[in-house]
Subunit: 339 residues, 4 copies
């Protein structure tokens, strides 16, 4: 069987994760080139995983005739342009989230995908998590009846630097975007309206930088169900990632993953493991799985599991949440999409 030839744009943390997934877990594909504006990073990644070619110019991947698919793992502002160039060159694309910080650019990317007929998968890896995926499955297969309430708790172990918070677009776009996508994934439909609260009580410098670090957002789904997401930039006990779906026939809820199931009973209490520390520990299996499914979708010409609609709606919700916070009122999704 011919292996799918993949090029990776961006040799940072997430580029490495995908390279590792392909080399160690996906015999149906191989990474043949990696690029990064920092040449040393590209070279290091290439050497670590035995990738033959590296360069500092992503157009080397776009123009390579032997490359079938491109993983866009570069900084956010470049996602759309690289994805578009790659699709126009006939390549299938896996693009990290968010696709872009503007609705226009995401729509343009969507248009190119449609015109070129190329696969375009967005990197919402959490959909492939064993816990969240199981909850979604139970919601989708009818075990829970009609979905009525979706609840997501998502808290990071430690806050980013205030500088990051100032430049990232803020909590709703850099952190809650995963949860917006998860909410729609679990509910099985889009959101109609958003109401956002948010405060800066973890680190005052985050507030001074214009961002919030603690937030609760309420959702109304198109099918009449309700949802709520709570985020914190700092959970003292680690990375808290739990989802719950409540329906007319029951509830499915996942607990955090620890490193073991062991409980220690002493005079101090019955003590279990903390949640696994952060996303590289917690979600590694989901990164592998999303890449497997991308490779399979290309190889078998089937639909990608996470398409551009998810890429668009997650950013729309983040923008609606920010607008809701700024204007202190519930915001309709239609205000953003059509705005």
């Amino acid at each position: 069987m011919k292996k799918l030839n993949i090029g990776i744009v961006g040799a940072g943390r997430i580029g490495k994760v995908h390279a590792q997934s392909i080399v160690y877990h996906i015999p149906e594909a191989q990474v043949v080139m990696v690029t990064d504006v920092v040449g040393a990073a590209a070279q290091a990644l290439a050497e670590q995983y035995g990738i033959e070619r590296w360069s500092t110019d992503y157009m080397d991947i776009v123009n390579a005739p032997d490359i079938d698919a491109v993983l866009v793992c570069s900084p956010t502002p470049t996602h759309a342009d690289i994805s578009i160039a790659a699709m126009k060159a006939g390549k299938h694309v896996f693009c990290e989230k968010p696709v872009d910080l503007t609705i226009e650019k995401i729509k343009e990317t969507a248009r190119v995908a449609q015109e070129t007929g190329r696969k375009l998968q967005i990197g919402f890896n959490r959909r492939f998590d064993h816990n969240h995926g199981r909850v979604q499955q139970l919601a989708a297969n009818g075990t829970l009846g009609n979905v009525e309430i979706v609840k997501i708790t998502s808290r990071d172990p430690e806050p980013p630097s205030p500088e990051y918070a100032a430049s990232s677009g803020g909590l709703y776009i850099d952190m809650m975007i995963h949860d917006f996508d998860m909410a729609m994934f679990l509910a099985g439909c889009d959101v109609d309206e958003v109401y956002a609260t948010g405060v800066s009580i973890v680190d005052p410098r985050i507030g001074e930088a214009g961002d919030v670090d603690t937030a609760i957002v309420t959702l109304k789904f198109a099918n009449g169900a309700l949802g709520v997401i709570d985020n914190s930039r700092r959970a003292a006990y680690g990375y808290d990632q739990r989802v719950e779906v409540f329906g007319s026939l029951g509830m499915a809820a996942g607990e955090n993953d620890g490193d073991s199931t062991v409980k220690v009973s002493t005079a101090a209490g019955v003590i279990g493991d903390k949640p696994q520390y952060f996303f590289l520990e917690r979600y590694m299996a989901s990164f592998i799985e999303e890449m497997k499914q991308f490779v399979a979708a290309v190889n078998h010409d089937t639909e990608v599991p996470v398409g551009i609609h998810a890429g668009l709606m997650s950013v729309v919700l983040a923008k609606a949440a920010k607008k809701s916070l700024d204007e202190h009122r519930p915001v309709k999704i239609s205000e953003i999409v059509e705005g």
Copy 2:
């Protein structure tokens, strides 16, 4: 030791609960009279628990010189008047929630309590629950650091009749009132602002009667923390009662109580008990404990554990939530209290 002599107004379900608590669990008190507008109900309760006197007129309790304290367990519209009459007659009062459906009447009741110097305890029994109380203790004693997020899940096993929903004042006042009080209890401070969503998706007749059956309400506390409550009128798996407090040093969260800790592992999965069915099963110990503390507060002339401020603020929040739903915007508490 002289026993505290107690009169109970109202021989319905909750009157019986309190009678039973006193007879079986509180040797420092005794029930000496019970009244109910339905004489047969008063008589039956008196016979069941060996109470010497019964009548159809609560004024018989108010005027009885040997009665020290009155439990007001009659229908909501009579709570305030009976409490006021009893306090003016020199009796201490335990009043079921809500004190009244109007802010004015609650404030008047508060004034009488202050003027007469009588004890006035409000029946928020869930504060005395072993799980919720433990979470509050951990929040109050600093184990969790600064409180940042309060989450309450509260779902009934089955919906009331549409007629009840139409006459009760609605979900926010007849059901979520407990959760509003719990939220302030856990956060250790009052609420500043409320945003309410609510839909009727469990039973359309509830919607036709003008009420909601599924609701999520977001809270901003005076100390800057955020809160969220979700309610459903119908959980297929029973009475779902969970609270969680997240703070700068950690999180405390309670699970539901089942009838046993037994897990059955078969080819079908690992199956544990459902939550205990409804409030009489789940909260019986808390009813006993609130009554013990009321009797102790009277006997030792100490402060009651749940005062009229809690009675007032819980109704204020319910009204704010209803206004928020009706006007589709966040509502400040000050709009209600001062309105």
Copy 3:
């Protein structure tokens, strides 16, 4: 309805427990006399629970014409004689465990019960525990299929004094007797053979007094199933009481009860409650339930839930275990019963 008139012999810890159960929880019965060789103890108990008569001579209960049933809560060596005297005087008997330390005396007690036709219930309260009872129910109703393995963990929070260990008859009779009864209750049949290990590693003085403080005993049941019990005199985390039944269709296993279901997540881990401290906390509900069922068996002339066969076999197993330890070999039950 006429109340069952009960006399309690022995005003110690367990006598008080039963008095409290009857006074507070069993309206169908009343305690009318209590005796104790220590008069002050009898008097104190009588006053605490409003019992009209007390004395230092248990024959005052045996001879009282208005007394229907006797609770034998005196020291072990007196159990059989008092039970026999009471039954011969026409009274029903609830006798604490062990019935006696000799097989002969237990058999004699059984004979008298049969001859007089009086009810004779033995105080194996753990059968009425919500967790253990639930496991037994699942075994008995076929959910687990054929019972194949029974496992019991039973550990006390702290060791008794070495003096107690020296005089009690030792761990197998004073502590594991409960577990022997539980094993037969769960398996639904008697035991054929016992193999006992036991060491003194908790407190060397217990070993010097001739007893063990840590023990594992293997059982072969008459139906071919296997069982194992482990005991320790000291569990640093409290009273560890867990049972497990494994059968051809699955397994049922109970966890310990804590004071709450709350888990605290901090940088130190996810911490839950320790098991409730000791038997008065852990098993109080079971003490009430066994007494309710004794009263019901007498009042409705139905079979008692725990008869003298259980009283006999538990002591037989304890003796077999001691013999196994002493002779360092498996011991058949028939060696003891017929010996």
Copy 4:
């Protein structure tokens, strides 16, 4: 860095597992040859994992000058001879368990390891399990105080064929051998005496073949602690693998691993995942880890984590257990080792 060159003898299930571990997870090593008496099996494995050479004669590996280490994954009766030949040829050896069914052959293998100075690691993979390893760590680092009781539950999801049971040497050697090793690993010392029970109640044909399918074995450790292992050939709910260590300061206990942490609450109860199905699912990470540590021990010339003493003692305990069952008495380990 030069990679460690590995040859694998035996292309069956466990040979494949180790090949996969090395290819996907251990960049410091590579498989350069595989042999199997069934040539097609060797060839298939070679092709699947890109191994350059294959053959039907393990001596091709023994004699290959470029091979540094040999994984002995052939049938049990050949383990010792192949290991000895490989060590004599200067190769390091990883040998699957049991090393041999005779004490003499294991001792001979140990002698050759000592004389040649080659590394010899035995395949007790469960020591590297995240749950069991965590319990051992807590026992070894003093958190639990002095170890007093070790409990191991180990049940397979379905029984082997009666033919297998007849030829494997029986449950104690083919199944409980893992648990014997685990017991000594957890206790941190050897066993002095064994008492075994065993019955055939799962499948009568297993009994007719001379084996048992349900067994409980009690252990006395050299340090005075007690232990117990229960085994069943068939657990209706899957592969049940739990260990517990109880010590003077507390207890550590692991629960089974499921595929997710999700619990589904419906009218039927609160349902969680069954244990992962069998050892390939449950212990895959431990297979990878044992191989990583073997490669590291060779590469850095450090001690292997599981030496020949463990290989010897596990078989000794299995033989002692069989003798105990046959002779219906406790058996000293010294009877076997010196026998």
